[in-house]
Amino acid sequence: MIREVVLRVEGLRKRFGDVQALDGIDFTCRRGELFGLLGPNGAGKTTTIRCICSIIKPDDGLIEVEGVSVASNPLMVLKKIGVVLEDGGLYERLTAEENMKLLAQLHGVEGSLIDERIDSICDTLGLGEYRKRQFKKLSKGNKQKVLLGQALVIDPPLLILDEPTVGLDVPTQKVIRDLLGKIKKERTILYSTHIMSEAEELCDRLAIIDHGRIVAQGTVNEICKKAGTKNLEQAFLKLVGRYA
């Protein structure tokens, strides 16, 4: 059964001065799919995500979320997206709960639904005893959990996670990976990472991006087959062409 396309990116281009950051990015994410964006540092993963989230305007190309164009109706698109940005922060003097509540309110979630969702997220992520603590007083791992929590509290059809496990300890990485494993059936997730094992474990399909271009996309097996390698890491190294 072919599932409905939730995110469509076609011919996405973005230039910063002399640098062509994105040079014709095309991919689609379908409902219930965890789609990985894999690439070395500076490949264009974060720029792609920033374009999808309307933080920056692309020079050219099409981005649609559930059939709504980012260019023509960015606010309606943003209502459908929950985001965890790379190195992103939250308000340090607000508590974990207040941060999640603020983001929920900004996304139009109202009333007791917010509290119910925060309760559920805190239980799932093990944030119960930290929810009343100011964000600045949380450990890096718990901060990342709260960042994930603020994206989930919106209950979006599309969840965008830009390297959410970078710099975290192994137990926290596992909590986040387990959570993503559970929720990926219910929603669409665009997951940017450069950790191969994570991509292999979590992603239903993925795209390998380098120098602003997608060099391969498909399931892990399809990519390994295309590259003629045994595992994703070898395929990645061969496809980005730097260490082959």
């Binding site: 309307s54 139009g108 603020q150």
Partner: protein, 306 residues
């Protein structure tokens, strides 16, 4: 759009009021630091002048006129001392508060020339010079009267016009001057300082802490984000000068009695009517809106709050 502005405004206010730096600029400076800075010098300078006036000033007289020396000795405001060092050394070491040189009189001249050497930086020296001037003018008048008497002219011929200077302003007018001029200046400063930390923190600070990008992914217009932040800046730029005016008014009620030398407290109620308060608040609001806009224009271009 309004809901978005409200949410951003509430967030900015809430985060700012939890920041120690904001509270210091908003409450501590206007209500305590600035009033103390204004009141303290008045009392320190006033107290020093009062002491200098009350005590006899030490004066070194260099003169060949024993009569003049007697006049100085007779004055309870002066204490004659010997000039043992140079004039500047005597003044610096405060062995003398001022030195008076009286030049020798030419045989055909009716005028004696005196020079009062003093240190204008020292309150005691300035006061001593004033006292010496008074004694010299009294002595001059005495000589003139004697000379006129020798010529058969009565003393009353000297009195053609009598005048004196008198403060025609009451305490309230003095307070009005104080509030209008000195406090006005502090109110502008209060407005700028009150909102500066909040405006910078909510713009450049958000960029630096990387929270702005997440805020930009919220489905509200960017103008709502900007207006919410701007209104928070205006609120602080508005509250801070009001607190400053309050603190400075209290300070004024101490300073003005010293200015008019009458002591006692000052009644503010007669000076400020509800109508005037409304006008003042409106002016402060407009000024706050302008200052916050100005600060925001600069702060949004910065990449960090340092």
């Amino acid at each position: 759009m309004l809901k978005g502005i409200g949410l951003i405004y509430r967030k900015e206010m809430w985060t700012a009021l939890r920041e120690r730096r904001t509270l210091i600029f908003l409450f501590l400076f206007p209500l305590l630091v600035w009033p103390v800075f204004v009141v303290l010098p008045w009392f320190l300078i006033g107290g020093k002048e009062r002491r200098a006036q009350a005590q006899p000033s030490k004066v070194a007289l260099v003169s060949a006129y024993p009569e003049l020396e007697k006049e100085f000795e007779a004055s309870d405001k002066l204490q004659l001392v010997r000039l043992e060092d140079s004039v500047s050394a005597a003044l610096q070491q405060r062995k003398a508060h001022c030195v008076v040189y009286v030049d020798s009189l030419a045989s055909d001249s009716l005028v004696t020339y005196a020079r009062i050497l003093y240190d204008p930086i020292q309150t005691e020296s300035r006061t001593a010079a004033d006292k010496v001037e008074l004694v010299l003018s009294q002595y001059e008048r005495k000589i003139v009267i004697e000379r006129l008497a020798q010529q058969g002219v009565p003393e009353r011929m000297l009195e053609a016009l009598s005048y004196r200077r008198q403060n025609a302003m009451g305490q309230n007018q003095m307070l009005g001057y104080f509030l209008g001029f000195i406090i006005g200046m502090f109110v502008v400063m209060g407005s700028m300082m009150g909102s500066m930390a909040v405006v910078i923190d909510s713009t450049a600070g958000e960029k630096e802490r990387k929270t702005l990008e997440l805020l930009l992914t919220a489905p509200i217009p960017r103008s709502s984000i900007m207006f919410g932040k701007y209104l928070a800046g205006v609120t602080f730029a508005f509250i801070s000068p009001i607190l400053t005016a309050l603190g400075m008014s209290l300070a004024a009620s101490f300073v003005v009695p010293v200015l008019v030398s009458s002591g006692g407290s000052v009644d503010l109620s007669g000076l400020i009517s509800p109508g005037k308060i409304l006008i003042i608040l409106l002016v402060i609001l407009l000024m706050a809106a302008f200052i916050a806009a100005l600060q925001m224009t600069v702060a949004v271009r910065a990449h960090s709050n340092r």
